[in-house]
């Protein structure tokens, strides 16, 4: 950063020097945090590396475990195989030491990763459909909360209370399993979208309401004085400002929803990430590998969405007061 153009140290003011010192301290802290992240990540990888350290009388050895496909009775099976890496002519006395990390079935992951990854598309589809529905509902609920009509106000608070007072899991099942009794049969996808949309709509209405309330009375008055109708005032002046206020928390909701979409797998008919992970994991009793795969996919999606959100925030903050 070229905050301080040219000039030697002597020419810099006390304040500049102080500022620079602070900046250096902050940068150092940030670097340390980044390094710690790398360390934690490596440690996690190590935990799943399949390495084993054994130490006994006079010998210490390091070996790596992994799964390999072998043919047994004319059938291909995956077998855990130890591969010695190194050994040293010294060791711990008595009981010694045997440190073994988790062995991941790499062959299983190789075979199933494509199948699980395909679930991402469905997960994103559910999330986008649900967030669109949620935004629509949240907007109406928030406007309802600001309405002077008692029935509309009641409708909005009633909806929010009912939805927030019951579990999302129950709501998904209600739409999927209970509605058919009334001859309304929804596919798993639409039951999930409806439940997620209703649920997040209720939560997000609070965000929208706060956003609408953040737009000062003077803004409305200025618009009205220009001759704008209430609808024009809402659309052109109030909503854009309210949305800008509501975007960061809405981004959080969207990220949370992406993860909650996993609950839709419970219907058994929506082949998103979680469903696929469970399916392959159960079939071969490789739940750990399957769930870790899904977890990584969810995590990557969340990271991408978070960075997208912060970019959007920067763009929206133009003209901020």
């Amino acid at each position: 950063m070229n905050l301080f153009k040219k000039g030697t140290d002597e020419q810099k003011s006390q304040a500049d020097l102080l500022f620079e010192a602070q900046q250096r301290k902050q940068n150092l802290f940030r670097t340390q945090v980044a390094l710690s992240w790398v360390f934690l990540l490596l440690f996690l990888l190590f935990l799943f590396s399949g390495l084993e350290i054994k130490s006994g009388e006079g010998v210490t050895s390091l070996s790596a475990w992994s799964f390999h496909i072998i043919t047994q009775n004319n059938r291909q099976v995956r077998e855990k195989i130890e591969k010695p890496l190194a050994s040293f002519p010294f060791g711990l006395p008595n009981e010694g030491l045997d440190l073994k990390t988790i062995v991941v079935d790499g062959e299983f992951i190789k075979e199933n990763i494509d199948f699980v990854a395909e679930g991402i598309i469905q997960t994103i589809r559910i999330s986008i459909l649900s967030i669109l529905l949620a935004m629509l509902l949240a907007l109406f609920a928030a406007l309802g909360r600001l309405s002077s009509n008692p029935f509309i106000y009641a409708l909005s608070t009633f909806y929010v209370s009912l939805i927030r007072g019951t579990p999302l899991y129950l709501q998904i099942f209600f739409f999927f399993l209970a509605l058919p009794q009334l001859n309304i049969v929804l596919t798993g996808l639409w039951a999930g979208v409806l439940a997620l949309g209703l649920n997040y709509g209720a939560y997000m209405s609070e965000t929208f309401r706060a956003g609408l309330a953040s737009v000062g009375k003077g803004q409305r008055e200025a618009a009205i004085a220009l001759g704008m109708t209430p609808a024009q005032t809402m659309r052109r002046i109030v909503l854009p400002q309210a949305l800008r206020f509501a975007i960061p928390p809405m981004g959080n909701d969207f990220i949370a929803m992406t993860k909650d979409s996993a609950l839709v797998s419970a219907t058994g008919f929506v082949h998103e990430l979680m469903w696929r992970a469970q399916k392959v994991g159960r079939a071969e009793f490789r739940n750990m590998e399957a769930l870790v795969m899904a977890a990584i996919f969810y995590w990557i999606m969340t990271l991408l969405l978070t960075s997208l959100q912060s970019r959007l925030e920067t763009r929206l903050s133009k003209g901020d007061r």
């Binding site: 008055e221 220009l226 001759g227």
Partner: protein, 253 residues
Amino acid sequence: MVPIVKISNLDKFFGRLHVLKNISLEVEQRQVVCLIGRSGSGKSTLLRCINFLEEPSHGTIEVDGIKVDGGEKGAYHRQLVHDVRLKTGMVFQEFNLFPHKSVLENVIEGPVIVKGMDKKKAIELGEENLDRVGLLFKKDEYPNRLSGGQKQRVAIARALTMEPRVMLFDEPTSALDPELIGEVLNVMKKVATEGMTMIVVTHEMGFAREVADRVLVMGDGELIEDAKPADLFNNPQDPRTKALIDRYRTGEQ
């Protein structure tokens, strides 16, 4: 001469509080009228009744031939109120620029959205008015990059771009730092000399004395004095006016 603003028997209640008491007033074209009075005397409310930001409880407001009865409801009333708002431009104490729009966008918003003016033409007109207030070079900035005085000048340009017949100013300099008041008053003076009819609620006695054709004094919801500035400042009739002017004189020294 036909008055451009005519207020007849105006009453305004806030709940049980009688804020404006049977006010009648005529303002002629090209007149600059300053409304002064202690805070709480109802001067802002009177101004806001003219463009129906406050709905009058009783009485009529007539602006440029459009006559509206206060306290009415319904679509016809709303249409009349809308027509009156097109005839009046308003400048607020707190500027109320739209923070999500650039200076030029602020200025052309009204003509384009409310009047349906062609955008090109609106930009032309908007730039002309920004030039009038001396801020054309800031047209692409956002309001948060402007000083208070500049914001208020943009707000004046925004109101002017609607080509109103009457400009209403609601304490336009009260939210400004002292050193920024001058630039806004200068723009207002310029608009006045260009022949705009102006009704100005203000505490700036200097401005009232120098620019106004008439000064109205409000006290306790009534018009207590209506005089040429020279007469009013030299020879106030009502003791409340006297007190106001004395306080201003002490402040000046």
